[in-house]
C-alpha cells in the first residue's frame, strides 16, 4: 500500500536533518587532539607546575620558621611560624584540587591533608605521638605513621591549639613533632615538584606509543576531573557538613582550618584556583575550548558563576566558633547553592566537550 503522506513526511525529515547538518555554519567542531595537547601544555606550565613550585617554596619557609620557633620559643617566633604555616596551607589549597599524578603516589594527597577526619583519627594519633618518649620524628617515623599526623591538620593543631602549646615547655615532643611534620610536608612537596618533570613529559608525550596516555584527551580528562569533581567536595565537605540546617546547628569546628581561622580563606583560594584552571589563560583554556566547541553561552555562564561565588566569599569573614548568626548561615548557604549551580554547569560543559570524566571509576559496583 502506498502511503504518500508518510513518504512525504519521511522525505521531509531526511531533508531537514540534511539541512541541519549543511546549513549550520556556526556549529562548532568537537575539540581535536591538537586542542587537548595545547590545553595540557598550558595546564601543566601555567597551572600545575607553578603551583607545586609555590607549595614547595612555602613549605620550605614554613620548615625554617617552625624550626626557628622551636629553637627559641617565644611569641614572635610563634607568630612567624604560624604565618609561614598559613602561607603553606594556602599554597596547598591552590593545588589541592589536582588529585592525580605525583601527589597521589604513596598517598601523599592524604599525607598532606587527612581531611575531613570524621572519626577523629588525627586527634587520637596526635595524642599518642605526644606521649612518645622517643621524640625523633624523622622520615622513618613518618613512613610508618598514620596519614592523619603527617600533614597540615596535625601541624595546625600543634601551632594554633592553646592547650597543646601550653605543654610545649614541659613536653619536648610538641616541638619535635611540629618540626618533624613541617619537614615531612616540605619533603613531600619538593618530591611532588620534582616528579612533575616526569609527569609533564608523560602528558606532553601522549600518543599511541605512550604507556600512560594513549591520547592527549586522556590527560586532559585528568585535569578536567580536577576542575569539576572538587566543586562537589567544596560544597558537601567544606560547607554543607559544617552548616547544618540552621545557624544553631552549624558546627564551625567541622570546618577545614577553624583553629587558624583560615577555613573561608581556604575556600576562597580553592574557588580562585578552579577559576584559573577554567579560564586562567587565553589560548586553549577550558573556557576557550568550550566556546569553540559551540558552548559560548555556557562558557560565559560558568565564568559568571565563578565571579558570583568569589564576590559572595569576598565579604564573608571567619566567624566566632560559638556565635554563628543566621545572616552568616544564610550567606554560606547561598554560596553552597552557587557551587551547586556551578557543578551542574561544569558537568554540562563536559558533555559539550565530549569528555567522559569516568564511568566505572565514578560509579561502579
Amino acid at each position: 500500500m502506498v502511503r504518500p503522506f508518510q513518504h512525504s513526511r519521511f522525505s521531509t525529515a531526511v531533508l531537514l536533518l540534511t539541512l541541519a547538518v549543511c546549513l549550520r555554519p556556526a556549529m562548532a567542531e568537537a575539540p581535536a587532539e591538537e586542542d587537548w595537547h595545547a590545553f595540557n601544555r598550558a595546564a601543566i606550565h601555567q597551572h600545575a607546575v607553578p603551583r607545586y613550585e609555590n607549595l614547595s617554596e612555602k613549605a620550605g619557609a614554613m620548615r625554617v620558621a617552625v624550626q626557628a620557633f622551636c629553637d627559641h620559643p617565644g611569641q614572635k617566633g610563634l607568630d612567624q611560624a604560624r604565618k609561614a604555616t598559613v602561607h603553606a596551607i594556602m599554597a596547598w589549597q591552590a593545588i589541592q584540587h589536582v588529585q592525580f599524578g605525583p601527589v597521589t603516589y604513596l598517598m601523599r594527597n592524604f599525607g598532606l591533608q587527612y581531611w575531613p577526619d570524621k572519626k577523629g583519627i588525627g586527634a587520637r594519633q596526635l595524642r599518642q605521638a605526644l606521649k612518645l618518649t622517643d621524640t625523633s620524628f624523622d622520615p622513618a617515623y613518618f613512613n610508618d605513621a598514620s596519614a592523619s599526623v603527617k600533614g597540615f591538620p596535625a601541624l595546625e593543631k600543634l601551632l594554633f591549639d592553646a592547650k597543646v602549646l601550653e605543654k610545649n615547655t614541659e613536653n619536648p615532643a610538641v616541638c619535635a613533632l611540629a618540626t618533624g611534620i613541617a619537614d615531612n610536608i616540605f619533603r613531600m612537596s619538593s618530591d611532588i615538584e620534582k616528579e612533575w618533570t616526569q609527569a609533564a613529559e608523560d602528558i606532553e608525550g601522549a600518543g599511541e606509543e605512550s604507556e600512560e596516555y594513549e591520547m592527549a584527551v586522556d590527560a586532559s580528562t585528568q585535569f578536567l576531573k580536577a576542575l569539576v569533581e572538587p566543586v562537589e567536595m567544596l560544597r558537601d565537605d567544606k560547607l554543607n557538613r559544617v552548616l547544618g540546617e540552621s545557624a544553631e546547628k552549624t558546627r564551625w569546628k567541622r570546618s577545614e582550618f577553624w583553629r587558624s581561622r583560615q577555613s573561608l580563606n581556604a575556600l576562597r583560594v580553592n574557588v580562585q584556583s578552579l577559576q584559573h584552571l577554567y579560564s586562567g589563560w587565553d589560548d586553549h583554556s577550558v573556557a576557550d575550548i568550550l566556546q569553540r566547541a559551540g558552548g559560548e553561552a555556557l562558557a560565559a555562564q560558568i565564568e559568571e558563576s565563578f565571579k558570583s561565588i568569589a564576590i559572595s566569599l569576598s565579604d564573608a569573614h571567619e566567624p566566632p566558633i560559638d556565635a554563628i548568626t543566621p545572616e552568616f548561615h544564610a550567606k554560606l548557604t547561598a554560596i553552597s547553592e552557587l557551587l551547586r549551580l556551578l557543578q551542574h554547569q561544569l558537568l554540562e560543559a563536559m558533555q559539550v566537550l565530549n569528555i567522559q570524566l569516568g564511568f566505572n571509576s565514578r560509579d561502579g559496583d
Binding site: 536533518l17 587527612y114 594513549e214 566547541a293 559551540g294 559539550v352 567522559q356 561502579g364
Partner: protein
C-alpha cells in the same frame, strides 16, 4: 545545551534507518564478547561484538545492568540489572531480540550477578529480600516459565558475584560483600563483615565461610574467578580509611585462609582502594584484576602468587580471557577495548566503530 558536530552526527547515526547499515558488521555466530554499556545517544544497552570489536547486535535496556551471562546450551544472553534493579532480560543471541523480561518477586532486588546451573535448567541470581539479614541465591526454572523454584541463604550480607566450584559435590562460591544497602546508599560500613562462602549445591548448606582479619573487615569481597582446580581469585573494594593498607586482591584455596596477593606499594597506593573485576586466563595460571579508579589492570602468576606487573587502562574494568595463556580482553569506561598480554605487560587497542560513543560497564563476558 550546546551540541557539537560529533554529538549531532552520532544522534543522526542513531536513527533507525542508519543503524542496520552502519553498526551491524558481523553475523550472529561471531558474537564473542558481551557487556552492558551506556551509549551516548541511546542510553543503556546490551552490546554483543566479535573478537575484533565489530558490533553484532545491540539490545536496549530499561536501566543500568551489570553482569551478562550465556546459557550453556541455548542461544540465550541474560542481562542482570545492577543493585537495586529488579529486571533480567533474556535475549536471543542470534537476533538480539528480547525473549523475555523477568522481574524479581515483590520486595526483592538484584545484586547484578547470576549463574546457570550446569545443565542449564536453572537461572540463579544473587538477590536481597526486603527484611532478610542475609542475601539469597534465587533459582528460576527455565523449563517452567522461569518460576522461582528454590531460594538459598547466600551465607552472608550483600552477595555479589558467585561462581561454581566443580568437585565430587558441586558448590556455589559466593562473594558476600557485607554491605547492607538502602537503594544505592550503604548503611552498615562501620560494622560490615564480608565473607567468602562455600555452599553445597544440593543441600544448600553453608559449608565454610572465610573472612579477612578483623582490622580488614571493611574489605568488601565483591568479585571472583575460580580455576579448574579450585583456586579462587578475589577482587575487593575497601570501604574504610582511604589510607589503610587493605587487601585489594587475594586468593583462596580450599582448606586455607584468605591470602592477600602482593603488589608494590607504589601501585597499591594508587588504586584508591577499589578493584572491579577478577579474571583467570585460559592456562588457569595467570590472574588479572582491574582497578578502574587506579586506571590499571594488574596480573599475578597464581601457582606461586607472584606479582607480574600492570598495564594502564583508563577507567578499565571489564575483563575476559583470551585464547592464549596470559592474554585477556579488557573494556573501559572511555569506550575502548583491548587485548592485554600479561607476560609482556603490553596492550593492544582493538579499534572499533563505537569508540568514545559508549562506555563499557563493569563486566565483559566471553563466549
Amino acid at each position: 545545551m550546546a551540541i557539537n558536530r560529533r554529538r549531532f552526527l552520532a544522534a543522526l547515526a542513531g536513527a533507525p534507518f542508519v543503524l542496520q547499515a552502519r553498526l551491524v558488521r558481523a553475523d550472529a555466530s561471531q558474537a564473542a564478547l558481551f557487556s552492558a554499556v551506556r551509549s551516548d545517544t541511546r542510553g543503556w544497552e546490551l552490546l554483543a561484538t566479535d573478537l575484533d570489536g565489530g558490533v553484532v547486535f545491540r539490545h536496549p535496556l530499561p536501566a543500568r545492568a551489570h553482569h551478562v551471562l550465556l546459557h550453556p546450551q541455548k542461544p540465550w544472553v541474560v542481562v542482570i540489572e545492577r543493585r537495586p534493579g529488579t529486571r533480567i532480560d533474556v535475549v536471543d543471541r542470534n537476533s538480539g531480540r528480547l525473549i523475555r523480561r523477568l522481574t524479581c518477586e515483590p520486595g526483592n532486588h538484584l545484586f547484578g550477578h547470576a549463574q546457570f546451573s550446569a545443565d542449564g535448567r536453572y537461572l540463579i541470581t544473587a538477590e536481597q529480600g526486603g527484611s532478610d539479614a542475609h542475601g539469597s541465591l534465587v533459582f528460576r526454572d527455565t523449563q517452567n516459565g522461569f518460576a522461582v523454584q528454590r531460594t538459598l541463604d547466600s551465607g552472608g550480607v550483600g552477595p555479589h558475584e558467585f561462581k561454581w566450584v566443580q568437585g565430587t559435590r558441586p558448590q556455589l562460591l559466593v562473594a558476600n560483600g557485607g554491605i547492607k544497602t538502602r537503594g544505592r546508599e550503604k548503611i552498615n560500613l562501620d560494622v560490615m563483615r564480608p565473607s567468602l562462602a562455600y555452599l553445597d549445591y544440593h543441600s544448600g548448606e553453608v559449608q565454610s565461610v572465610h573472612r579477612f582479619a578483623a582490622q580488614d573487615h571493611q574489605a568488601s569481597i565483591r568479585h571472583l574467578d575460580v580455576t579448574a582446580d579450585g583456586t579462587v581469585l578475589l577482587a575487593m573494594q575497601f570501604e574504610g580509611d582511604p589510607t589503610q593498607i587493605a587487601p585489594l586482591a587475594a586468593v583462596h584455596r580450599p582448606g586455607q585462609a584468605l591470602q592477600p596477593l602482593p603488589m608494590p606499594e607504589e601501585i597499591r597506593s594508587r588504586l584508591r582502594q577499589y578493584c572491579g573485576s577478577a579474571c583467570i586466563d585460559s592456562s588457569q595460571a595467570i590472574g588479572a584484576i582491574s582497578a578502574p579508579r587506579g586506571n590499571r589492570i594488574l596480573f599475578w602468576h597464581l601457582p606461586d602468587q607472584t606479582y607480574l606487573g600492570s598495564v594502564v587502562v583508563r577507567d578499565g574494568c571489564g575483563l575476559a580471557p583470551g585464547n592464549q595463556p596470559g592474554v585477556f580482553f579488557a573494556s573501559s569506561g572511555s569506550g575502548r577495548l583491548y587485548r592485554l598480554y600479561a607476560k609482556t605487560l603490553r596492550k593492544q587497542r582493538i579499534e572499533a566503530s563505537y569508540t568514545q560513543t559508549i562506555q563499557w560497564d563493569n563486566h565483559l563476558t566471553r563466549a
